[in-house]
Subunit: 131 residues, 2 copies
DNA sequence: AAAGGTGTATTTGTCAAGTAATACACCGTA
DNA sequence: TACGGTGTATTACTTGACAAATACACCTTT
């Protein structure tokens, strides 16, 4: 379910964060579901439990996950409306550089939008391919 | 013309590469123009000449710049098509984070694209307003 | 040839990121 | 309370990236 590439240059704990985030966003993990225990997952991937714990910690900071002392970590229950606003805000933040860049590079809105759509499509295709 | 933030987390030499590349892509530096000398620029920014040289080296590997022993470095001559390609490449780089973010946040392609278009429109409006 | 400019190969030092080891605290259930 | 499960605070180690120091080679002009 989770796959790590230790030679990708991307730190392991970051890969974990990304993948869990994606599992949640795509609905494969729902609110209330337990994440794999740090020991289970670390053993399965040949890592140290602390590495997994670090990743889980970051996920908690983002509020996508909930920690309870002594108990498994669960996916945070997400009230749709509240979360939607925050997510759009995050997306706007990520789009900021692209927006100013588009202008400074003298690229037309149509062209830029087309490019964005294309990139999104490409990535979706990759994900399909993984299954 | 070039601004460095030593506390941004992004290594200085990388900031240099990005900014020069952008200056070229946006046409503020044209083919044949000389880059600021390593000593001049490094002094101006409070860096070591080698740091600047490292950045220039990467730019040469990408073919956007030309080195000649003992002489200033110049911007490589480029065809219109190549320049267009480079600009799109820049844009793709800026869009990268937004693309992965869209997926991890579970936002639909349509929604993300709409948001992007909106932001672009907003900015255009601001520019009008500035005049 | 000398001077003052260009860039850089090589070496060195520093420092933070990433990961792992260790040991501990909490929880639920028998 | 004892056990086997959960997560983690703290510490330590390793490694690579980054940046600077040093010294050198090349070019043009005088």
């Amino acid at each position: 379910m989770i796959v790590i590439d230790p030679n990708s240059g991307v730190p392991v704990y970051r890969q974990l964060v990304e993948q869990v985030r994606f599992l949640i966003a795509s609905g494969r993990l729902a609110g209330g579901d337990e994440l794999p225990s740090t020991r289970t997952l670390s053993e399965q991937l040949g890592l140290n439990p602390m590495t997994v714990s670090k990743a889980y910690g970051l996920l908690e900071q983002d509020g996508v996950v909930q920690r309870r002392p002594g108990l498994p970590i669960i996916v945070a229950a997400t009230t749709r409306e509240a979360a939607d606003g925050a997510r759009l805000e995050q997306l706007r933040g990520l789009l900021g550089p692209a927006v100013t860049g588009t202008r400074q590079l003298g690229i037309s809105t149509t062209r830029a939008v087309a490019e964005f759509r294309q990139l999104l499509a490409d990535q979706t295709a990759e994900e399909e391919h993984d299954r």
